[in-house]
Subunit: 455 residues, 2 copies
Amino acid sequence: MTATSLDALQRLLPEGMVVTDPDVTDSYARDRTFCAPGTALGVVLARSREDVVTTLRWASEHRVPVVPRGAGTGLAGGATAVEGGVVLSLHKMTAIRELSPADEIAVVEPGVITADLDRAAREHGLMYAPDPSSYEISTIGGNLATNAGGLRCVKYGVTRDSTLGLEVVLADGRVLETGRRTVKGVTGYDLTGLFVGSEGTLGVITAATVRLRRAPLVPPATVAAEFPTLVSAAEAVAAVIAAGCQPSLLELLDRATLKAIDDWRNIGLDPDTAAMLIAQSDASDGQAAAERMAALFEEKGASFVAVSSTPEEAEELIGVRRLAYQAKERLGACLVEDVCVPRSRLPEMIAAVEATAARHEVPIFTVAHAGDGNLHPVFVFEHGLAEPPPHVWAAADEVFRAALDLGGTLTGEHGVGLLKRRWLDLETSPVARELQHGIKQVFDPLGIMNPGKAI
Amino acid sequence: MTATSLDALQRLLPEGMVVTDPDVTDSYARDRTFCAPGTALGVVLARSREDVVTTLRWASEHRVPVVPRGAGTGLAGGATAVEGGVVLSLHKMTAIRELSPADEIAVVEPGVITADLDRAAREHGLMYAPDPSSYEISTIGGNLATNAGGLRCVKYGVTRDSTLGLEVVLADGRVLETGRRTVKGVTGYDLTGLFVGSEGTLGVITAATVRLRRAPLVPPATVAAEFPTLVSAAEAVAAVIAAGCQPSLLELLDRATLKAIDDWRNIGLDPDTAAMLIAQSDASDGQAAAERMAALFEEKGASFVAVSSTPEEAEELIGVRRLAYQAKERLGACLVEDVCVPRSRLPEMIAAVEATAARHEVPIFTVAHAGDGNLHPVFVFEHGLAEPPPHVWAAADEVFRAALDLGGTLTGEHGVGLLKRRWLDLETSPVARELQHGIKQVFDPLGIMNPGKAI
Ligand SMILES: Cc1cc2nc3c(=O)[nH]c(=O)nc-3n(C[C@H](O)[C@H](O)[C@H](O)COP(=O)(O)OP(=O)(O)OC[C@H]3O[C@@H](n4cnc5c(N)ncnc54)[C@H](O)[C@@H]3O)c2cc1C
Ligand SMILES: Cc1cc2nc3c(=O)[nH]c(=O)nc-3n(C[C@H](O)[C@H](O)[C@H](O)COP(=O)(O)OP(=O)(O)OC[C@H]3O[C@@H](n4cnc5c(N)ncnc54)[C@H](O)[C@@H]3O)c2cc1C
């Protein structure tokens, strides 16, 4: 790659679409992790599929690495710029090409902000279910490429479960359509599923046909409860699932997180609380479901249980969850992790995190999508450091290994990116790795798509 | 492949596991289609993963095609024997290796009969949701390899949606583990999804980690209704979905099917009926949901509506659906098809089928999983023919093309197998085909896994 070849791309694309001003390119170099970026030679601000085709043809011809990028809210370093490559930003491709209430589907471009799609659907009594906490800032393209989860996925599943088909531009500029507009179909291998979660390493998603669902008819009913032990909270989670309460949200906050929130906002926390559970039901009989969950929480030993009876009260109860991340950011720089274990191993996993925090003297704050066994331990360290210091990595390493020992996985919803590549071999067998690289080779023989990420 | 090399396999496997008696091998040569089988040199009745490994190592060494086989209930010719190959039957691998109520998962071998897994789960208040109509006779391995659907999938999704991980023996005998025991995870490409629906062309599934769900607490409430026009029935389907009734079953029977059932069993059919809808709700407030659906059916012009108030009445209403297939089999040999269209195109699709039936003078009877837009037009022809006569294929061809024209797919849940290969190119682009063959090459470079099927 030379400046001359970038000139060629500039001539092929509309004026101003290829940006090389270092101040601008630098702002496209990182996501929300500490992964150190390489120096990109330029950023392409694509506005159409044709722009993407042009860029990838050029990149193939000149063997230039391409890093697809949505909003850069990723927590794995997937969108981190690669030395000598270009960043291909899709965030200006924001058309909702179609929204069919009859078929409950939408066809959207990758730059659409997740919450915007949800709002557009709600105008028709529908919703777009996947709701990462970042949904006001993340893009559908990034959600697809990471198979994003969220709070509602305990009931509605992850991004994959809402994806019917994709339009993808391959590394060589060819356009591929995968999947379908129907809810079912088994013609050929599931290429759609292969692209979801592939973190930009197989091609660039330029449109998606996604499934919408009926929006709940009533606002969700919420219940919050404090537990004296982790085990009692985990038993309460199991009881709620076993009773078929079908929560649309089931979150756990650990002792450290609660204390951080209480220190900041004084929520009147009982100092003996080991964990808080917050649950919602968005079913038509949601209030009854919330009452049932409250009864189960009490049965399992909750020291305090509150059920909302108005939307305002519901907002208040869920508000504590919303404070969790900010409460930690006040205390230092945050490394956000994302392990997932079988639900029954939740208390062991949280205990392992607490033991690691004590052993390495690293403050770790855990919030979990408890219904899915998906934990986000947040490792806090000194503000201003360029990256987490060694003892934080040592603690993270212990947490990853504990998750794997408990039959879990390194990443429930954030992806591997750059950040978790060094642990990949602990989870993935040599046979699986060989096959994954074989697949990569089929889609991207020159290896220009987001090299060094994910696999 | 020579008799000598088969001798080698016989020596490697336990006595009696390789069967060459033509009477027996012949009974393993076909599935439920009319696809003409090749002559297999033998059938391997595997009992363990090791038997599968041994067979595939041997097959790779001698370049012998291998046709994996479950129960042979397939409707696409996927398990049809290949000339000079071996049939590798998995139906004796029937262990449920694990069933964890706490994590709501089971680890099962491929020969487990679908309904047996469901029954095992129900002992713990759980269920295995995917329920192809064949679920008393089909195997989990076959369901996985075809991504089987069923009646409940309007609410619970297809087999893929219940699959967390797989154990697969690759063509060269290596063992691959895919996926995980957790409900979420994004480490690496989704190899699990790639195997589901791959019809035995990428490897042999020897175990699966599947997701169980809470079994409904009450028996389902059922509603049945007769409609004077297809359009009114389709509008009723749309209304039920739009109102968020969440049916756990939503089936449509067309005029021809109803007449065949009435002629046989005299169900008192109004001769002006164009279609019948049968819906169920298995929710805790299912009776209310059924009443709501009944009201919507009336609103959309149903001439007759019945709601069950007891499980016996529910059985009676759903009984009509159960008679559908037999009512046709009485009339001749059946070619069962499986197109799927966006739900809003359902009336057009049924109208197209009726027009084709008239034009080609072929009796076609359609039952549809209406909530999913998945239709099974059954083409009936003279008993005793070895395969459908040309005018039946001509009619089928028209139906396939109509489905594709309406934005649909050739197969919603049965797979492509041998049967639909000739139409594949109408749905799959050259780019997609090239990639699929590239993937096939990665997993099975010698091309011995179920050659000539699916892709
Ligand atoms: C406060 C906060 C809360 C969060 N909460 C959650 C949560 O609850 N659940 C969750 O899952 N994540 C969460 N995240 C992580 C992040 O928001 C998600 O991973 C999101 O999906 C990333 O979207 P993005 O548009 O920012 O993608 P980016 O960060 O720009 O990119 C992410 C990956 O996708 C690739 N990519 C982007 N667009 C395309 C495309 N069109 N084609 C191909 N590849 C592409 C990139 O190359 C990269 O590998 C959170 C992040 C923050 C900062
Ligand atoms: C009366 C009737 C009703 C039916 N209703 C439905 C329905 O509602 N929904 C539906 O989806 N289908 C239905 N079917 C079709 C059929 O039952 C399904 O396709 C079923 O999944 C096939 O299972 P099987 O065990 O019989 O597989 P087989 O027919 O033996 O094989 C099917 C395919 O799977 C492959 N295969 C089998 N086992 C393995 C393995 N362990 N590893 C790798 N590949 C393997 C075979 O090579 C073949 O390609 C019906 C069939 C009948 C006869």
